[in-house]
């Protein structure tokens, strides 16, 4: 077996020197794959991505234990800019587009690490191929665009940097179901056509599992379950608490008791 592109080994993350958020988390991301990281609100998914991309520091967080290995290199001491240059690009939760800049300027900001302006221009064409709507609106101030368009722009900005690994934090957040499907189709295409590896954080487990090659479920700063989407969708707990499906056939009283216990485990 080849080494994974990225591995997090037993990492511990502490905010403000006291709040322990990740408590020995381990995940692996193989090259060329889409790996999903699922979990309820507050589980520590975004913290995991920020630990990888070096964005904890401005939030007064730090990796205090374990290691983050990318292409055989320890990266958890690198600063954010160095990590972007190594080929890891995080699309932050809530899109975080530059509101007062136009679409095109947002994309150019995404290409900040590209030294060659011709390459930046070429990449912009690639972005416009995936997101024709951005092309139509390229001179528009980004803050006035719809949520879906802003999400497209956030992903487009990542493409501009030509990363090896994209960290996508909740691309479905606040978007209408049809739009979510459209965006995930494009995410899958980017993964296949551009050969970019994607670590995908989602609360919407249904849609994430539909595109992922492998998935981790985390809870309270730890991984509690992992497997292929097939394995996970077969798991009764996952079906109930993450996919919103209920298996029929249980007796009601028994189910209620078990439900309470399981619920406590998943969501506490």
């Amino acid at each position: 077996m080849t080494d994974p592109l990225l591995s997090l080994n037993n990492i511990e993350v502490i905010y403000n020197r006291v709040i322990l958020v990740l408590k020995g988390l381990s995940i692996k991301v193989d090259e060329g794959k889409i790996v999903a990281l699922l979990g309820a609100n507050g589980a520590g998914k975004s913290t995991t991505l920020k630990a990888i991309s070096g964005l904890l520091k401005p939030e007064n967080g730090a990796v205090t234990d374990g290691s983050i290995v990318y292409k055989g290199q320890n990266i958890h001491n690198s600063d954010a800019a160095a990590i972007v240059r190594k080929g890891i690009f995080q699309v932050m939760e809530g899109r975080r587009i530059f509101e007062h800049l136009t679409v095109e300027e947002n994309l150019r900001a995404g290409a900040y690490i590209q030294r060659n302006p011709m390459e930046a221009r070429r990449r912009m064409q690639i972005v416009y191929e995936y997101f024709p709507r951005l092309n139509e609106r390229k001179r528009q101030v980004a803050g006035f665009m719809s949520g879906g368009e802003q999400q497209m722009l956030a992903i487009g900005r990542a493409l501009m940097a030509n990363p090896k690994l994209i960290l996508l934090d909740e691309p479905s957040l606040g978007l209408a179901p049809l739009l979510v499907q459209e965006i995930f189709r494009i995410i899958k295409r980017i993964n296949q056509e551009q050969g970019m590896t994607i670590l995908l954080v989602e609360q919407n487990a249904n849609i994430a599992l539909s595109v992922a090659d492998y998935a981790y479920i985390m809870e309270n700063g730890r991984v509690v379950l992992d497997g292929t989407p097939q394995d996970l969708t077969a798991n009764a707990d996952v079906r109930e608490f993450y996919l919103g499906l209920t298996d029929v056939g249980h007796r009601k009283s028994y189910r209620d008791v078990k439900h309470y216990k399981r619920r406590k485990r998943w969501l506490s």
């Binding site: 401005p58 939030e59 954010a80 800019a81 530059f98 007062h100 690490i113 302006p117 900005r157």
Partner: protein
């Protein structure tokens, strides 16, 4: 879309509309506006000597106001840049201006620089030297004084800039003393050659005649006829400020670092996530701010009695400008600068004589420094964040 629709007329609604209107304009639009104003002033200039009385006076005040406003705009742009990037108000900005003036003095008088072999054009290399040296100084200040303070409360950084202003003041006093350091380059400049043939733009008196033989304009002063000179120094102010602001606009609109600077002002963490070095952005910001301040200081000294230690007072006049325009808006700094400049001149031209004539006790009244603040207070009652200032875009 901005929510600007209002049924009945209200000043708030009107200003909101105005703001939406201006916010939707591109940099090129502002540039054109600025250019048109400059050209208008210039053209009016040219034709007014023949006109008598008040229309000419109005144009003269407008012309002076635009020139004064251009300087204020240049000073304010630097303050706004620093505020946008770092949330810090730089209280050493006026001292940066003063340093620019002393650099110009050193170049012109001590080093006697000239340009294209003409002594009178020494201002060009002096200006470049002031810009370059101040740019480097800005980087130095950021590196040595402000970077160690990253993460500290903004108020401590502001206190440090106040300290810095005292240090610069003391240093200038030690080096150059407290007497004004003047230079007289423009008397030997092109003016004598070419521009002497051009009529003075807005003569204080209208006794201008054209000599039918030579075509030169003359006027009677104390019984003798003298050629009138074109007051080109104000045109050169507008010209220099336009060039600097144009350069800034291009920088922010098209260069990678300029776009990165605006991105950082919008969302620092997001720009970190794309590999933008926020440290470098801060350094560039301080560099540009110090550079524009230095150029402004040079202009103030050149048109107002040389390099002296009260130049930072002009920097203080920039504070109402940035509050009027909105602390975080560059367009606001430009429009605000022009507005305050014009208001000051109209106050001098219309309000002061009125008070002086009608009230014996106000024989030496000067409202120049009061009127801008009055207008400021009124505008802030309706737009607490200034005309253009607003951090968030609200989608409806």
């Amino acid at each position: 879309m901005l929510n600007t629709r209002e049924k009945s007329f209200s000043l708030q609604g009107f200003l909101d509309n105005l703001q939406a209107y201006f916010a939707a304009k591109s940099w090129r639009w502002y540039l054109t506006l600025f250019g048109i104003l400059a050209v208008m002033a210039y053209i009016l200039n040219w034709f007014v000597p023949q006109a008598q009385d008040n229309p000419a006076a109005f144009v003269r005040y407008t012309y002076n106001g635009i020139a004064e406003g251009a300087i204020l705009a240049l000073v304010s742009v630097g303050l706004v840049l620093i505020y946008k990037a770092t949330d810090v108000i730089n209280f050493a900005h006026g001292e940066f201006m003063m340093l620019g003036a002393y650099i110009a003095y050193e170049m012109l008088v001590e080093f006697k620089v000239s340009f294209l072999g003409i002594d009178g054009l020494g201002l060009v290399p002096a200006l470049i030297a002031a810009a370059v040296i101040m740019g480097l100084l800005g980087i130095l200040v950021e590196r040595l004084i402000l970077r160690p303070l990253v993460g500290e409360p903004v108020i401590s950084v502001i206190m440090v800039t106040i300290g810095l202003s005292s240090i610069i003041h003391a240093g200038v006093g030690l080096q150059w003393g407290t007497d004004a350091k003047t230079w007289q380059v423009r008397d030997t400049a092109l003016a004598d050659g070419i521009l002497a043939q051009v009529p003075e733009v807005f003569p204080e008196d209208s006794e201008i005649r054209q000599d039918l033989e030579t075509g030169a304009y003359e006027r009677e002063i104390e019984g003798s006829r003298r050629p009138v000179r074109f007051q080109y120094d104000k045109v050169y102010i507008v010209l220099i400020v336009s060039v600097v602001i144009l350069a800034l606009i291009f920088f922010f609109k098209y260069s990678k670092q300029g776009i990165a600077m605006r991105a950082t002002a919008d969302d620092q963490q997001a720009s970190l996530s794309m590999g933008i070095s926020v440290k470098r952005i801060f350094a560039i910001t301080w560099s540009i701010a110090a550079m524009t301040a230095g150029i402004a200081g040079l202009i103030v000294a050149d048109t107002g009695g040389g390099a002296k230690t009260d130049i930072p007072g002009v920097g203080l006049r920039a504070f109402p400008v940035i509050i009027l325009g909105g602390l975080d808006s560059i367009a606001g700094a430009i429009v605000g600068g022009l507005m305050i400049g014009l208001l000051e001149q109209y106050a001098v031209g219309y309000i002061d004589p009125l008070l002086q004539e009608n009230f014996a006790s106000l024989a030496s009244a000067s409202t120049k420094n009061v009127v801008p603040y009055l207008v400021l207070v009124v505008i802030l009652m309706f737009k607490p964040y200034g005309l253009f200032g607003q951090k968030r875009i609200e989608r409806v």
